[in-house]
């Protein structure tokens, strides 16, 4: 008898009753920690708030509650700790914009020195704080192989300060510092950093990318990461309704389209080599992903910019080839 594949067992079926309880997500569990509790001031539909909750609840569960978090300056830090309130129900430290990775390294050392090596450290920040201003500290943590899981919530820009371009902003995207004007509207092509690949180049034990569309996948990756000692990096795509100009109820859908179009490849890597990918059964044309986003509206207005869309399609196709993203079964 052929095994029946439940393709829909992903975020569309969180806590799916067809699933064995042991395979359900942490979010399905009423006993979850709620590491990031309600009451924070995130925008409606914030992908980062969603991801942070998923990630931290899983990390807390995976470590038996023995977890400390270090947060870079950014949206997450700002909306979660409006003094005198805090949404965090776990030990949490925010220092500066650029230094979450270094601060985390220091926390790890202190935990060892004070006889608590069982307590684990998770550092987190947005794309700006990670790939731009925080890059030196991040690379330093990687090269020392410090026992830190660094999670980057990537919404492709400095959203907290008003949607400015970062090194993670995709080509052609409109931001306040890469306006959709001139002959080359939006963010230029040929610039930017692929932080996950740079992390892989450090040969650290574990690198993975994920999105908020595939909850089981995201949680599994956090669990895997927490089972490993040494420097680990998780890069999560988190749509930002405000910065992307998308509907607040569309966040998960947009994340899924990003993955299915192959513009955001989802994979795992061990010591610099890709070890698994989240396969794409049906590659979605990039246009389907771009059209719902106001930050790409200039590609569709009037006669549109089919040439730019074609270049973006090339990037997607290159990702398919590079990572082997297409599923063997169709």
């Amino acid at each position: 008898m052929t095994a029946v594949k439940f393709y829909q067992v992903g975020s569309r079926a969180v806590g799916n009753r067809l699933l064995d309880p042991a395979h359900r997500t942490r979010q399905a569990d009423p006993q979850r920690r709620n590491a990031l509790n309600s009451g924070h001031r995130a925008c409606q539909g914030c992908g980062e708030a969603l991801a942070a909750r998923y990630v931290l609840d899983t990390a807390v569960d995976a470590t038996g509650g023995r977890l400390v978090t270090v947060n870079a300056t950014g949206c997450l830090e700002v909306f979660s700790t409006p003094y005198p309130e805090s949404s965090w129900q776990i030990p949490w430290l925010h220092s500066l914009f650029a230094n979450a990775a270094s601060v985390a390294s220091g926390v790890v050392a202190a935990l060892r020195a004070t006889g608590r090596p069982d307590v684990r450290v998770l550092a987190q920040g947005g794309d700006g704080g990670t790939v731009d201003i925080g890059f030196a500290c991040l690379s330093g943590m990687f090269e020392r192989n410090d026992d830190v899981l660094y999670v980057c919530y990537d919404n492709g820009g400095y959203m907290n300060t008003g949607v400015q371009r970062s090194g993670a902003t995709p080509p052609a995207a409109r931001t306040a510092t890469t306006e959709a004007v001139g002959t080359e509207p939006g963010n230029p092509f040929g610039v930017g950093k692929d932080a996950a690949r740079i992390a892989m180049a450090h040969d650290i034990p574990y690198v993975a990318t994920a999105t908020v569309a595939e909850l089981h996948d995201l949680e599994a990756k956090v669990r895997t990461a927490m089972s490993i000692r040494g420097a680990r990096y998780l890069h999560v795509l988190v749509p930002c309704p405000l910065g992307w100009g998308t509907g607040t109820a569309e966040t998960v859908k947009l994340a899924r389209l990003a993955q299915l179009s192959a513009l955001f490849p989802v994979y795992e890597a061990r010591h610099g080599t890709v070890s698994s990918v989240l396969p794409i059964r049906e590659q979605v044309p990039v246009e389907e992903y771009l059209r719902p986003q106001k930050r790409f509206a200039h590609l569709f207005a009037g006669d549109g910019r089919p040439d730019v869309i074609a270049k973006l399609q090339e990037i997607a196709d290159r990702n398919v080839a590079r990572y082997g993203l297409l599923s063997e079964e169709h």
């Binding site: 776990i90 650029a98 390294s105 330093g140």
Partner: protein, 393 residues
């Protein structure tokens, strides 16, 4: 036990005896011998259980120190000059978060132009970062002050920097009694953090504070820093009773009945003592070991009897004037005391007994300018200024 050893070495050994638990380190001249020695001690077991992290920049060093201190460890690092500036953002962060980190600053000039030699412009540039600032006049004082600094910082949850002149002290071999391990243990108990990152008792550290509460938070930090003067006085007395050595905030020399008093910080005070002994003319010296918080009342009282004060400083405020002398003048507000500022020893220029005699002769004869640079090549600067004024068009 008294030994002849390098200042850096003495400091490193003292740090070891303070049982530091985490040391993030980044090298910069002239602090390198300190971190190298601490690193070796951590590696060979002389300093057991110490986590020594070779970080990628000074900014990373102070950041890692913040994380370590927040997680409850006794934390130490060292830097100088450009390195101190590179971690400037983190300095304010450390004091704002109440992290009792102790740091050696091997005082060195700040570029441009790049200069690796001694002056005080590095620490002075950070005088408002919320850290306690202590200045050592000798390597013995440097060793002693580090022990006191840990206790002071941890008592108040305010970070402390111990300043020692780069090269002049760090690289000088002098007779030093490295505080004995048992004595340090008696004086400096294990750190007992008031709060720390702990899964059993979670806290949120580093929240965003808006206009409705920021001023109060900062006022409280200021009050805490002010308390350091009183707490330091108590600790200094305790240290003296244990060792016979003085680490008090103010160290007067020939001050009683002095008509002219020189105020200075760091190793130049030793040279000044020789000069004043040679003159024996009623000139006194006030060595300031505690610069932040600034001991206003104590300074005012110490200088009350003087007619004239000359602040000899190893830094200055470009476009303005003196740095320490501004604080001294503030402390003397309302009195008749004349204050002159003499900027000496910038970028490692030696401060000689001859030049100091010249300065005091000028003061006695009434022609020491209010703001002066010791040993400045005046003909050279005058030529250059004339050239800039006239020739450039």
């Amino acid at each position: 036990m008294r030994e002849q050893l390098e200042g850096s070495r003495a400091v490193a050994e003292t740090i070891g005896r303070c049982r530091v638990q985490v040391v993030p380190a980044y090298p910069i001249t002239p602090q390198t011998h300190i971190v190298e020695a601490v690193g070796a001690m951590a590696k060979d077991g002389t300093l057991p259980g110490c986590e020594f992290i070779t970080v990628e920049s000074e900014f990373a060093a102070m950041s890692a120190a913040i994380g370590a201190a927040a997680a409850g460890a006794r934390t130490y690092t060292a830097t100088a000059s450009q390195g101190l500036l590179y971690m400037a953002e983190a300095l304010f962060n450390a004091s704002g978060l109440g992290m009792p980190i102790v740091m050696t600053v091997a005082n060195r000039a700040i570029g441009a132009p790049i200069n690796i030699w001694n002056d005080h412009s590095d620490a002075m540039s950070q005088r408002d970062c919320g850290w306690i600032q202590l200045y050592a006049e000798s390597n013995q004082a440097a060793a002693d002050l580090h022990v006191v600094a840990f206790r002071l910082a941890e008592a108040l949850n305010v970070p402390a920097m111990v300043c020692m002149d780069g090269f002049l002290l760090t690289h000088a071999f002098e007779p030093i009694e490295v505080p004995d391990a048992a004595l340090v243990d008696r004086f400096l108990p294990h750190r007992r953090p008031q709060q720390q990152l702990d899964p059993d008792d979670p806290v949120t550290i580093g929240a965003m504070v808006g206009p409705e509460a920021f001023a109060e938070v900062r006022y409280l930090a200021h009050s805490q820093l002010r308390r350091a003067e009183e707490v330091h006085a108590g600790l200094a007395a305790e240290w003296t009773s244990l060792t016979g050595r003085d680490v008090a905030a103010l160290a007067p020399y020939r001050l009683e009945g002095a008509d002219t008093v020189v105020v200075a910080l760091g190793s130049v005070t030793g040279t000044l003592q020789d000069v004043l002994d040679e003159r024996a003319d009623g000139t006194g010296l006030l060595n300031l070991r505690l610069y932040r918080p600034f001991p206003n009342a104590a300074v005012r009282e110490a200088l009350a009897g003087a007619r004239r004060v000359i602040v000899v400083e190893r830094a200055f405020a470009p476009g303005a004037g003196g740095v320490v002398s501004a604080d001294v003048q503030c402390a003397l507000a309302g009195t008749d005391v004349e204050v002159s500022t003499v900027v000496a020893g910038l970028g490692g220029r030696p401060v000689t007994t001859a030049a100091l005699h010249g300065m005091l002769d000028a003061a006695a004869a009434g022609y020491l300018p209010r703001f002066d640079f010791l040993d400045l090549d005046r003909p050279l600067v005058e030529r250059e200024l004339a050239h800039l004024r006239g020739g450039a068009s």
